[in-house]
């Protein structure tokens, strides 16, 4: 009975070691990626940017048919590179998603989105993508 249990323990240990080695080799392999991976990841990102572009130009994101691009063509004058910054009108340091929500609630007369809502992520992806190449300047007004 005891022997059987020992055997079981030994088998479990082997299994555990095997799993650990497997996990290690997998994690080692995960550090390698090829051109195909890069393209796939870029496509994944761009599909979210495109989703953001659609939302940014959508009359149904808010409640009064006003869309973000009416004031911000190509997401200009959103300055994602300056966030987080002291938003003087709010009197505190905020991230860009809070300003997006301010716009959703005021000019668009709609409801705010959670920071990790896929729609918010898409909007931020589009806004940031249209500003690509501009150096980060957090805090700049």
């Amino acid at each position: 009975m005891e022997r059987k249990s020992l055997n079981l323990k030994a088998s479990l240990l082997v299994l555990l070691i095997f799993s650990a080695v497997l996990a290690m080799s997998l994690s080692l392999r995960a550090k390698e990626f090829n051109q195909e991976d890069l393209e796939r990841w870029d496509n994944e990102f761009m599909s979210v940017v495109m989703e953001g572009e659609k939302l940014f130009h959508s009359p149904s994101l808010g409640n009064n048919k006003v869309s973000c691009d009416q004031c911000h063509p190509n997401a200009a004058n959103t300055h994602p590179e300056t966030y987080p910054k002291f938003q003087q009108q709010l009197g505190r340091v905020v991230s860009l998603f809070e300003m997006v929500n301010w716009c959703l609630q005021n000019p668009l007369e709609g409801d705010p989105l959670a920071a990790d809502d896929p729609e918010m992520v898409a909007l931020l992806a589009y806004i940031t993508y249209e500003r690509r190449g501009v150096p980060l300047e957090p805090g700049k007004h």
Partner: protein, 357 residues
């Protein structure tokens, strides 16, 4: 001092009027001593009245137009006439044009209208012509020849392509940053009309042309652009004093090309970024322009406005009326030969909010 209720009300009333009215609205300033031919007109533009549903319209844009009219109605002495610079509607709908005209009807004075792309691309100007009038025309006033152009036409191939519906076409043109859009133009038919119209005008007569789009090329991506601008400019070239005033761009812009002075007007609805704020494409804002202040979105009317224009000795002096901001004046300087901001033209005089990036 004892203040009874009646005295208080009287004082409070005076204080309220005093603080609510910008000083410039109390009296229009006429420049020259011999001002028999000098006059003033008002300019309201880009109201973008937007229909929601039922009887609802976007409150913010309604308020912009109403405020400009309320202020313009206080001008004294009265301006000789008003211009409306285009984009009365957002999507060219009858509801929007009717509602916009209803608000405009409270403006005291004669109004001449310029059509914008937001008024046009649903029914190609049909309802506009029925309710307002022709899309291009000219008139004379106190020795100045005024021309109104429809500068927001585009290639026939785009206008008449296989759209799912007229509203599809309207929305495609209404989207400023649409990569599938099409550049504005005046077109051969209208250029031929303009040539004929100007033939009978003495070349010493001051000429003032109103268009919705800039009759110069600033940024094609947002149609701050007229494809055949050079052809129109060529017809204005023989005139010693030529001025072009345009809407569409929702911001302060001014320029001088040869003899032609260009001024843009503000929107009553919302401001637009300067094209250089979009970093993925090159643009060409006139170097003369001192930018308007960056908008503070928390003040709904900030970086919107309207203007009154003094025509002195045949050239325009633009007086931008800017709620929530200091008013600006851009005046043609006969000595330098180009328009200048009355306060900020020198780099040393500019302020941080005028820096856009």
């Amino acid at each position: 001092m004892k203040i009874d209720r009646r005295t208080f009300l009287k004082t409070a009333g005076t204080a309220l009027v005093g603080s609510a009215l910008p000083v410039s609205l109390v009296k229009v300033a006429f420049g020259a001593a011999d001002s028999a031919r000098d006059f003033t007109f008002g300019y309201i533009s880009d109201a973008h009245i937007q229909y929601i549903k039922g009887k609802d319209f976007v409150r913010n844009w309604d308020m912009g137009l109403k405020r400009s009219i309320m202020e313009a109605n206080l001008l004294s002495p009265r301006p000789d006439f008003f211009m409306f610079g285009g984009d009365l509607a957002q999507l060219g709908m009858k509801e929007e044009l009717d509602h916009g005209l209803d608000i405009m009807s409270s403006l005291r004075g004669e109004v001449h209208y310029v059509i914008g792309e937001h008024d046009y691309y649903l029914d190609l100007g049909e309802y506009w012509q029925e309710k307002i009038g022709p899309l291009y025309y000219s008139f004379d006033h106190k020795g100045v020849h005024f021309v109104v152009l429809n500068s927001i036409l585009t290639y026939d191939g785009w206008t008449h392509k296989d759209w799912d519906s007229p509203m599809d076409r309207m929305k495609a043109m209404a989207r400023l940053d649409n990569p599938e859009g099409s550049p504005f133009m005046v077109g051969e038919e209208q250029i031929a009309w303009l040539r004929k119209d100007l033939e009978k005008v003495n070349k010493g007569t001051p000429l003032c042309v109103f268009s919705h789009s800039p009759l110069q090329k600033i940024f094609k991506g947002w149609n701050f652009w007229t494809e055949d601008a050079e052809k129109v400019q060529a017809l204005l070239k023989p005139f010693r004093k030529a001025t072009v005033i345009y809407g569409h761009v929702h911001q302060v812009q001014y320029n001088q090309i040869g003899n032609i002075t260009f001024h843009a007007v503000m929107a009553t609805a919302w401001p637009w970024p300067y094209p250089e704020s979009y970093r993925q494409a090159a643009s060409c804002l006139p170097k003369l322009t001192v930018h308007m202040n960056r908008a503070d979105p928390f003040f709904e009317r900030d970086a919107t406005g309207w203007q009154y224009i003094n025509v002195m000795d045949g050239k325009a002096a633009m007086h931008y009326q800017l709620p929530d901001n200091e008013n600006r004046s851009v005046v043609y300087n006969h000595r330098t030969g180009y328009p200048e901001d009355a306060k900020y033209q020198d780099y040393a005089d500019r302020v941080p909010p005028q820096k856009h990036y």
